[in-house]
């Protein structure tokens, strides 16, 4: 590992009706969190299958968040 501080990348699958709305609400409320998330909006967490999760890890994600 390099001496640089480890910065994980987390892929988040966010359901439009709850988790994505919650992430928007965090913004409206100006709640601060580390900028390591990359959000993928889905219409429902049911859209997210094992393939998508494995794909994220395969491409180098350090974590996957499914919010629904």
């Amino acid at each position: 590992m390099s001496s640089e501080q480890f910065e994980p990348t987390v892929v988040g699958f966010l359901c439009n009706w709850c988790a994505y709305a919650g992430a928007d609400l965090a913004g409206v409320s100006r709640l601060q969190y580390p900028p390591n998330l990359r959000a993928v909006r889905t219409l429902c967490s049911a859209t997210v299958g094992p393939h998508q999760i494995l794909k994220a890890f395969q491409k180098g994600a350090d974590g996957v968040f499914v919010g629904g």
Partner: protein, 558 residues
Amino acid sequence: MKDQKSSDVRIGVFICDCGSNIAGYLKMPTLVDYAKTLDNVVFVQENLYTCSEGGINEIKEAIPRENLNRVVVASCTPRTHEPLFQSACEEAGLNPYLFEMANIRDQCSWVHMREGEKGTERAKGQIAMAVAKAARLRPLNRIELSLTHKAVVIGGGVAGMAAAMALGNMGYEVDLIEKQDRLGGLLNDLNLILPTHEPPSVLLDDLIGRLENNPKVAIRTNSTVKKVEGYIGNYVVTAATDGNENKIKTGVIVVAVGARVLKPAGLMGYNGDRVVTHLELEAMLKQGAATPKSVVMVQCVGSRCEERTYCSRICCMTAVKNAILLKENDPTTSVTILYRDMQMYGVENEDMFRRSKELGVRYVTFDPEKPPIVEDGKVDVYHLRMGKQISMPADLVVLSTPLIAQEDVGEISTMLKVPLNENGFFLEGHVKLKPLDFATDGIYLCGNARFPSTIREAITQGLGAASRAAGVLSKDALHTSGIVADISPETCCGCLGCVQVCPYGAINFFEDRGVCQVNKVLCKGCGGCAATCPSGSARLDGFSSDQIYAQIEKALAG
């Protein structure tokens, strides 16, 4: 449908400053320069407010000028602004589903206010993801369907009658299907009803009289539903009346099949003679045949137990009502109610509860672990508040048994493809927010078929279900959403995996062809089928695997 060749894809990216809401925290020139480097991007524009009239015009002008066939806006959130930008695309002649949004305000500049550098990196990632998805978007269409502006109400109890009456009054033709030879359901068997203390005939005669006079309402007694085909707007209900089958075309269906009273065979010495249910007591009171000197009523017989976990809501008030009637008939009658919690919710019930105490009705709390023992002429119970076993004489023991689901709810649920809960009551779309809807559009629910209700509640729900149904019937036509699932018939192997996960009953299996097919009117675009399908035949348009994979790849490219 094939992907457009990427060389044909021309994406315009509009990046919003949102005043200083984005521009104040993220490095806008960096984002603009970065967007220009992305594949298929041919035009990038920064706006002070993309959602302002000026911003919208810039989108509308750029589409023909730059020959754009995809538009990406990087700004606030699609949850509030996607429709606005989509209609701008549509007005400029671009299919609105060729639009994608990157959330760089609500989920970026506002949550990384003190991390401009890294926040900008995240925004770059989100823009790249949106652009990659946009390149794979396909034009989608909302399909228009006609509908039958008529309703079928299944069940002619007070809830079903209220629903039929309201729909008829609104001018829709209604078929009211009742299994028995008369309308009114459970109400017919009651003595006096709450809160008016009138015989049920007062309410029933009025309701039935007006229903019979309503030219829009066809009453079908002695009728049962045999078959239901179709979907919202376009159902065909087959009803059998005295053996003759009729096919009824309808746009919506209201389920108001009611419930029945549990006969507590084997519980607490029930014999239908000196140990009876409240329904049986009501019949005795109606005939003036009940003149006991000492009455013990026992609550929660067959409910709030392992076999039936629910509280049946209306038994406590029924017991108190009957206790008052017995006391009013003869103040020397001793009436004791053995209970766990007196469920006298609301204003009128609590008033009635208090009145019963004023009349001398006694209340004894019992412990379900030590239930009352009913013997000939007496009841023994462990008195929880006194801490000892007591015995009381009882000429008559009245058991409060719950309302339970009708025997044929399983068949109805299968025919309509709507679920039941563990107790056989129909399961609504959302326990709090959609109490009268099913998850499947076009079918509505009211009365005891949903859960035990008072008469007022049943009427309320009947009217409410009518209102929900009228919401559909008042439309000229139905429109599907563009974001719906599709199953490729070439590769579908008919495993039915998707049918099982679809919460909306939107997928049908065609045995003749051995394939599953999505009903696009019912599909809500959850994508459960696509995630489940082992052969990758099911695809959610607008959120397809290739689009999501492209987003994942870009998310991790930085």
